[in-house]
Amino acid sequence: MAAKKRERLDVIRDILQKIKENRQIKPTRLLYASNLSPQMFKEYINELLTKGFIKLEIDEKEKKTFSLTKKGQDFLCEYKIIENFIENFGL
């Protein structure tokens, strides 16, 4: 039986959770961990950057890493409540 397709909010939660676990994570590692196609991954990452949930840091060797912002941490804490709200109100 095919696994249930992840909802958009679940994907965001999973990405943020992965970043939180690693504190800082390289884009390629995050792509593998997120289990998304490169195209979808790019869309989600852009969205998370725009929303201010994550930030991209580039060090002096041009190495890129993602880390969680305060807003991203707040989202992870409230994710369950938001999910519960959406389901209870049929939104």
Binding site: D74, K80, I81, I82, N84, F85, G90, L91
Partner: protein, 226 residues
């Protein structure tokens, strides 16, 4: 003095209090849901929040309507039109929060949820209903539109309850709230058509409305308690 005559004698003061209480309840719901929207940017939460924002405005206008109706008939009529417009918009937003997934594609994202091509249609219909009501000096257009909207909402909410009412307990209360809302609109229409705005019927409408909003406040507080 009976409770009924006490209510009738203090009708205006009670109406103002009633409008103030409901607009405060709506603002509480808006504040609670806005925080979740800012965190998640979830479109359903956005439309749900907008519904109560417009209900709050509608009852705010009704509060002013109550204040002005004794002083100037002209202001009272204009405020009545504004009140109708906000009310119809609120009903549309509540309904749209339930069906937006079927109307909008997941990638569709509008900067403004108050003014975009889809919501513009609601604004136009609400405006037409309010203007027709003003020209004919009647609330029938609003009543009929809201009865239709609440009837459709009831079908959707009830099917949500049948599908996942066991896991998500508030769906039952949501169904009850929409049923009460529908009942209030039908009573409103009946009061206008057959009972010449009977005070007893209108009192029952008021009670149904208060329960409707308190049920939503209860749901928002209970579900978001964390």
């Amino acid at each position: 003095m009976s409770l009924y005559s006490l209510i009738v004698e203090n009708k205006y003061i009670l109406e103002i209090f009633y409008a103030l209480i409901i607009s405060s309840v709506c603002m509480l719901i808006v504040l609670k849901t806005d925080r979740f929207y800012q965190l998640s940017l979830h479109r359903g939460i956005r439309y749900f929040r907008n519904a109560f924002f417009f209900y709050g405005l509608a009852f705010g206008a009704r509060y002013l309507f109550g204040l002005f109706s004794d002083f100037s008939l002209h202001y009272a009529f204009v405020l009545g039109m504004v009140f109708e417009y906000f009310f119809v918009m609120a009903g549309f937003f509540l309904f749209y929060s339930l069906i937006y997934k079927k109307v909008e594609s997941p990638r569709e994202h509008y900067k403004s949820s108050l003014l975009n091509p889809k919501i513009f249609v609601f604004h136009m219909v609400a405006l037409i209903i309010a203007v027709l009501g003003y020209l004919w000096q009647t609330y029938y257009f609003m009543f009929v539109s809201q009865i239709l909207i609440f009837f459709c909402s009831l079908i959707i909410v009830f099917s949500n309850y049948i599908k996942s009412g066991r896991q998500h307990k508030f769906l039952k209360f949501y169904t009850i709230a929409v049923l009460l809302g529908l009942g209030a609109w039908i009573l409103n229409l009946l009061a206008a058509l057959y009972f010449e705005w009977s005070k007893i019927v209108m009192m029952n409408v008021g009670i149904l409305n208060i329960i409707f909003f308190l049920l939503f406040l209860f749901g928002v507080i209970k579900v978001t308690r964390g």
